[in-house]
């Protein structure tokens, strides 16, 4: 017979988002089962031996494993239950809650819960998704895979590497591979600007004299068994290779850092609506998806630039999931959309729940958010965090405004510079939210975020 476990909240994924969510839910008094498919908790942080984690959340510079350990220890201290090497094969809604089938090395486990937190992270885009042609020898790998091989397995993936893309993991791996004695011949980015954080361009490429070629891509790979070389080409504004600019570069390794895609196969199977801009579930300010009882956080919702914000959204989701699972009446959800103007790549959350905002504003009537949060470092528990990325670089900065449809302003800030690789964040108090939206009724109710570009001086 398969095993059965009944709980309040199931958190899927024990990376930074899931760990934070599980801790927050437990601190709010919920019974929690954390499900992780790998052997250890920590997610991708386990392979991030570089530092720079925790600057926002802990005001200190930690490595990935150190950062993960903080919440792992917190979860252990709370006496949390984690299922390791456990894999969800099926998820469905049942009897107002959720029923999940899992397998682990002990067999099949049937989990039932009142609320579900999806903290499933993201995956890397592959060479096939950026339509690289030519042969398919050994030696083509994503930056994350190269990172795992070098940092966890102690394996050297090649001797002479070219990097396609300038995402953060690719930049970090340029440095890492160089330190391990590999020759990194260059990073090629099809866009006219780098995709990764400025600090990574400086610290990982410039400091090591690794050339970054913008508006340049890899069109094909050469080599039967192992990569022998790649063809690079300049690209036009539409990112199409320009004929005549092809160059053959000898290398035995091609590392790809061409973007991340939120993992949402389970969300999809539960009928959770996704945002085509983020490729993650649409959520409200509590990280509650449009399916009641399903919460989502971290890179499964949108790809964050810093792990600190991943944890922050986990805290929010975990707290809200615990509140949802707690006995008593749930405030009725009154969702109004947040419409992001054309200047935004995306904005999260995509919705605001007036019902819970009103409840929070009137003093935590949901029963969550205050009890256990003293020990947490998240801070500003009840405030609603908004995250966005601009569609284009605004070297002169921009004014970002959030208002109701009828023009009542909730937030305004002037940013000195906006760049798509750098995620921006602002917060609103539930009080301000509920007050500004108090008069909003009916179908026309919505919030609008707009961006006004400023010219460089």
């Amino acid at each position: 017979m398969s095993r059965r476990i009944d709980t309040d909240v199931v958190v899927l994924g024990a990376g930074p988002a899931g760990l934070a969510a599980a801790c927050a839910a437990m601190e709010a008094g919920a019974r929690v089962v954390l499900v992780e498919r790998e052997e250890r908790v920590g997610g991708i942080l386990k392979q991030c031996v570089h530092d720079g984690f925790g600057l926002v959340r802990y005001r200190s510079k930690l490595s990935g494993p150190e950062y993960a350990l903080r919440d792992a220890d917190r979860f252990a201290a709370l006496g949390g239950a984690v299922m390791l090497e456990a894999f969800v094969t099926k998820a469905e809604r049942r009897d107002g809650g959720f029923s999940l089938s899992c397998v682990d090395k002990g067999g099949v486990v049937e989990l039932s819960s009142k609320a579900l937190v999806l903290a499933t992270g993201c995956r890397e885009r592959t060479d096939r998704q950026v339509f690289i042609h030519g042969d398919r020898p050994a030696g083509i790998l994503t930056a994350g895979l190269a990172q795992y091989m070098i940092n966890v397995q102690g394996l050297l993936p090649g001797r002479r590497a070219l990097i396609l893309g300038s995402g953060d993991i690719g930049l970090i791996m340029a440095r890492r591979m160089t330190l391990e004695g590999m020759e990194v011949v260059g990073a090629h980015e099809a866009k006219p600007e780098p995709s990764g954080l400025s600090r990574n361009v400086r610290q990982c490429l410039e400091d090591f004299s690794i050339p970054l070629e913008l508006s340049s891509t890899v069109t094909s790979v050469r080599g039967g068994r192992r990569v022998e070389g790649v063809t690079t080409a300049r690209v036009d504004e539409a990112m199409r290779p320009i004929p005549g600019t092809e160059r053959d570069v000898e290398c035995d390794t091609l590392v790809l850092s061409v973007g991340l895609i939120p993992e949402n196969e389970l969300a999809r199977s539960l009928g959770v609506p996704l945002d085509p801009a983020t490729k993650g579930p649409k959520v409200d300010q509590s990280m509650h998806t449009l399916v009641d009882g399903v919460f989502a956080c971290g890179n499964a919702v949108h790809v964050n630039d810093l792990a600190d914000y991943v944890s922050e959204s986990g805290e929010t989701a975990g707290r809200a999931a615990a509140a949802y699972a707690s006995p008593g009446a749930r405030p009725e959800r009154r969702l109004v959309p947040v419409e992001a103007g054309p200047g935004f790549l995306y904005a999260v959350p995509q919705l605001v729940d007036l019902g819970s905002a009103a409840a929070e504003a009137s003093g935590g009537a949901t029963g969550a958010g205050s009890a256990g949060s003293a020990g947490s470092t998240g801070g500003a528990d009840e405030r609603a965090a908004f995250y966005f990325r601009s569609r284009a670089t605004m070297p002169g900065g921009a004014v970002v405004r959030m208002a109701t449809a009828d023009g009542t302003e909730l937030y305004k800030r002037r940013y000195a510079v906006l760049r798509p690789p750098e995620m921006e964040r602002f917060e609103l108090s539930p009080h301000a939210l509920s007050e500004a939206l108090a008069g909003m009724r009916g179908d026309g109710a919505r919030l609008v975020v707009g961006m006004e570009r400023l010219e460089p001086k």
Partner: protein
């Protein structure tokens, strides 16, 4: 035609007759012209076309043998030596194990099905497209009937979705009687005219611009590499030997018969030799002094769409232009695979390179036209794409016969599309020919205890909860999911590595288990699969290969790492 070509070629083309075949020598200005000259020569009524035209800038290819060198075969004797471990060689091997003969199958790659047999769309054609009276037509229709029961014996999934040849205009729909007559002449198992409304009802996501369809219910699909692996394993379970990384380098003849087969692993003696060498079958024929045909290569590229696309497509479908119905391939289309993906393609382009599997950007653009046939599909759903090379004779038909010159040689060559569909039927015939030859030097009796059934390794994801639970309780490795996209467990990977046909490359594991075949394309599971393969084979972690020696995934440990 040939004379005209020779003028345009400018350097002169010499024609001669050798052993009943027409031999073309000289220089062609391009590969395309070389092929067209070969096609023209095929109409002249000779036994075969040996097209030795050279093409500037395209030197004649030579076999590059595996890095492995030992003496595993030195001095051995087998009643039958099969050259080539594709679907044909593997099916022939299994068929021959019904008889009390010693059988060795030699495959130059690190796995069976490494080339054309894993680089196709898995379609078991109905037999309509083949030219009436051709070997293709006969073998295809019989093979189509044999595959379903054979898959049941092998424990391999087979589905029969049927094929819709969509009409793009009212005019093309008028071709129905002609098509029906061709299907009748080929002996195809059933055909129907479907009206526009019927097509729309049975294939809900079909694009609106169709004018009905020619429906062929017998068309099926299977996983071509799983089927080939299963055939090879079944052969091994019944006593055949399969030698991987073993390349035939030459043959020694005595009194006109093949006496010894030379390989990178020593020379063995052979009673009968079967040439099932795919894109090298003309070269292998030449090693025995019987190169009465030659091959040209027609490359085809296909795209694989995400695993959740299969639910949008019920039938195999394509919309060939009217002129394509009589062309050399049926023009490609959409194929729902047994695994739930959709395959788009293949393209068809004459291109040199017997093993050139590089893909080109224009090929993917060409596949767009197929994707448009279904309103729910888009090229953006592609998780990968790949190319295959069809081994084609200039007669554009199979060569399945006893050699006229070498009494102990049987050819199964030029097996292009619909070769997969035809494989079981070709294997029957080849085994019969081999038995005739073998009975000349020894008594040929049925093998005692021959087993039709292959016990396939478990696939936990296909089991119900209780059965799966019981399986995991018996072996916890079946509960440890390694490939998250395709839900493949450690136990399945161990089974693949330890099977009767042990393999150790990532590609071989992928073909057997689907680990790494999903949407993340191995990004997450590659390290885990490497660790399991290394542990099971006792090799260092960095020495794990993608597809055999020379394709190691890593070059060694990092500084100071203990691996």
């Amino acid at each position: 035609m040939i004379a005209r070509r020779s003028r345009t070629g400018g350097r002169g083309i010499a024609l001669s007759e050798r052993g009943g075949s027409i031999v073309i020598e000289g220089q062609a200005p391009s590969y395309q012209e070389k092929v067209e000259i070969g096609w023209a020569a095929a109409k002249l009524g000779f036994k075969g076309v040996v097209n030795d035209l050279s093409v500037e800038g395209a030197p004649e290819e030579t076999l590059s043998p595996p890095l492995l060198a030992d003496s595993a075969l030195e001095g051995a004797y087998y009643d039958v030596v099969i050259v080539g471990g594709g679907v044909i060689g593997s099916a022939v091997a299994r068929e021959l194990t019904r008889l009390d003969l010693s059988v060795a199958l030699l495959e130059k790659e690190s796995d069976v099905a490494a080339h054309t047999s894993s680089r196709n769309d898995g379609m078991v054609h109905d037999g309509f497209a083949a030219k009436p009276g051709s070997k293709k037509a006969a073998y295809n229709v019989r093979g189509n009937r044999l595959w379903e029961p054979l898959c049941a014996e092998l424990g391999v999934e087979f589905k029969r979705p049927g094929s819709l040849i969509l009409f793009g205009s009212a005019l093309s729909a008028a071709a129905y009687p002609v098509m029906a007559e061709r299907a009748r002449r080929n002996g195809v198992d059933g055909w129907e005219f479907w009206s526009r409304a019927r097509v729309a009802a049975e294939e809900p996501n079909v694009a609106g611009d169709q004018h009905g369809a020619f429906f062929l219910p017998s068309a099926g699909v299977l996983s071509p590499y799983k089927a080939t692996v299963a055939l090879a394993e079944s052969a091994i379970m019944n006593g055949a030997r399969v030698f991987l990384d073993t390349c035939v380098l030459g043959m020694e003849l005595e009194s006109g018969r093949i006496a010894r087969v030379r390989t990178n692993r020593g020379a063995c003696r052979a009673g009968v030799v079967v040439n099932a060498a795919g894109n090298w079958s003309d070269v292998v024929a030449g090693m025995a002094g019987d190169r009465f045909f030659s091959l040209h290569q027609r490359r085809g590229t296909e795209a694989i769409l995400d695993a959740d696309t299969g639910r949008h497509l019920r039938h195999i479908m394509g919309m060939p232009r009217l002129v394509q119905i009589k062309s050399k391939t049926k023009g490609g289309g959409l194929v729902p695979t047994v695994e739930g993906n959709v395959l788009v393609g293949p393209t068809a382009a004459e291109a040199p390179g017997r093993e050139d599997y590089s893909t080109r950007a224009w090929e993917l653009r060409e596949l767009e036209k197929h994707v448009r046939l279904n309103t729910r599909l888009a090229m953006g759903q592609a998780i990968t794409y790949f190319a295959g090379v069809r081994p084609c004779t200039y007669e554009e038909d199979f060569v399945v016969e006893r050699s006229e010159r070498v009494p102990n040689l049987v050819h199964a060559a030029g097996i292009q599309s619909p070769g997969l569909a035809s494989a079981p039927a070709i294997a029957e015939d080849v085994a019969r020919m081999v038995a005739e030859i073998a009975s000349g030097f020894r008594a040929v009796r049925p093998r005692d205890g021959w087993k039709a059934r292959r016990s396939a390794a478990p696939e936990p994801r296909r089991l119900g909860p209780e059965a799966r639970n019981a399986l995991i309780l018996g072996n916890p490795a079946y509960g440890r999911i390694v490939c998250r996209c395709e839900e493949v467990s450690e136990g399945e990977i161990v089974d693949a590595v330890r099977s009767v046909l042990p393999v150790s490359s990532m590609d071989a594991v992928k073909r057997r288990t689907r680990a790494g075949m999903g949407r993340c394309h191995g990004g997450f599971c590659t390290p885990r699969v490497m660790e399991i393969v290394a542990r099971e084979t006792g090799s260092p972690l960095w020495a794990v290969t993608k597809k055999g020696p020379g394709s190691e995934l890593c070059v060694g440990p990092t500084k100071g790492a203990r691996v």
